[in-house]
């Protein structure tokens, strides 16, 4: 039986930017699914098992943008091309949808470009969140960031700008697989490429400090992996580890209370 679609001519936007989550169809929100159902054309970056066929069942035209990734090719032109495809379709055939794994505005440059170009072309954009790998990291580690807060950086950007790290606040480092690499690569990374990261982190943490690589599951039946390393041997350990995922560095210590008057005021009410 061929699917019936619910596309609509008059939606309050020309382009929907949506996140599909990390684990596949299980994490597509109701809001996102209802949005995709009403779009004429969905452009998707997600090669999780069964995701594209599922979208094809709810949207009349689905184009995977994954083919734009080419090994050894720079990532920036790829992201521009992805954004251009979406904008071009929106001009003549709106509403269209840009759907990506994870959250569409968490480390997703094509979405940034779509938003910018749309503003210049009077195209209305609406964005709908998805479950990001930060969300799944919290679940995989069983942590709540309320205690000490959280800081996070893109791993190459951390090194490039020598960004200061506050070691009494847990730290998440993103895109380990792209460390120091502007091109799209799928080859394994040697310890040498991780050494600058290890050396830089040693300016803030002791060598025995734990650092955790979290690889969240991308299919419901898989288990997420959580690998615990020591900073002093991080580069060598990562060379043999999964290399995919985000790094989590726990705080060295909790920050002590400085404003005792406020503390007194707060505790007086308990």
């Amino acid at each position: 039986m061929s699917p019936t679609y619910q596309t609509e001519d008059s939606l309050p936007f020309d382009i929907a930017i949506v996140g599909l989550g990390i684990v596949g169809i299980h994490q597509i929100t109701r809001e996102v699914e209802e949005t995709i159902r009403r779009c004429r054309h969905t452009f998707v970056i997600d090669s999780g098992f069964g995701v594209v066929p599922y979208l094809e069942g709810i949207c009349p035209e689905v184009t995977s943008l994954f083919s734009f990734y080419e090994k050894g090719k720079q990532r920036l032109p790829t992201y521009r091309r992805m954004a251009a495809e979406v904008i071009n379709a929106a001009i003549t055939c709106s509403p269209v949808c840009f759907a990506t794994y994870g959250h569409p505005l968490v480390y997703c440059y094509p979405a940034v470009l779509i938003q910018r170009a749309a503003k210049l072309l009077d195209l209305q954009v609406e964005t709908f969140p998805g479950i990001s790998s930060l969300d799944t990291l919290f679940v995989d580690l069983g942590i709540d960031v309320a205690a000490d807060g959280l800081q996070m950086y893109e791993v190459t950007d951390l090194l490039l700008r020598r960004r200061p790290i506050q070691n009494d606040v847990p730290c998440v480092l993103w895109q380990l697989i792209a460390i120091g690499e502007p091109n799209y690569q799928t080859d394994r990374i040697s310890a040498e490429r991780f050494l600058p990261l290890q050396d830089y982190l040693l300016e803030f943490y002791p060598p025995e400090h734990p650092i955790i690589l979290v690889t969240s599951k991308t299919f419901p039946l898989l288990q997420s992996t959580v690998k615990k390393y020591r900073l002093g041997t991080l580069a060598a350990d990562l060379e043999h580890g999964p290399q995919v995922g985000n790094l989590y560095i726990p705080a060295v210590r909790s920050r002590e209370v400085r404003d005792h008057k406020l503390l007194e005021k707060l505790t007086a009410r308990i």
Partner: protein, 115 residues
Amino acid sequence: MPGLNDFLSRIQTDHAFYLQFRKNPQEALTPYELSSEERAALMDSGSQLSARLGEVVFTLTGTKNFVSLGSADWQFDPAAALRRPEIQESIAQIRNVTTNADRLTPVLALIEQVG
């Protein structure tokens, strides 16, 4: 008889079936024609399944972000952008073409001009 791909698709799209498999995998697998290796991998949920899925499931290694190497302006100002002659030209070209194929080039040029 349905095979591995049918099973994996159903796990994604039929939540009740997914829960049934979690509770009683042997029973849930009964209608599927699977090799002993596939069956063992599905019971594993660790490296075996990961390796098996690796053949059909992409692990999310395709990053979507790039690092600004220069002083790229993340605070995009559309009004300022619209005053730039090259952007005005790209927009005019976009408005003047009639086919999708012809429009892609000026759209791409506009995208390059904004980020």
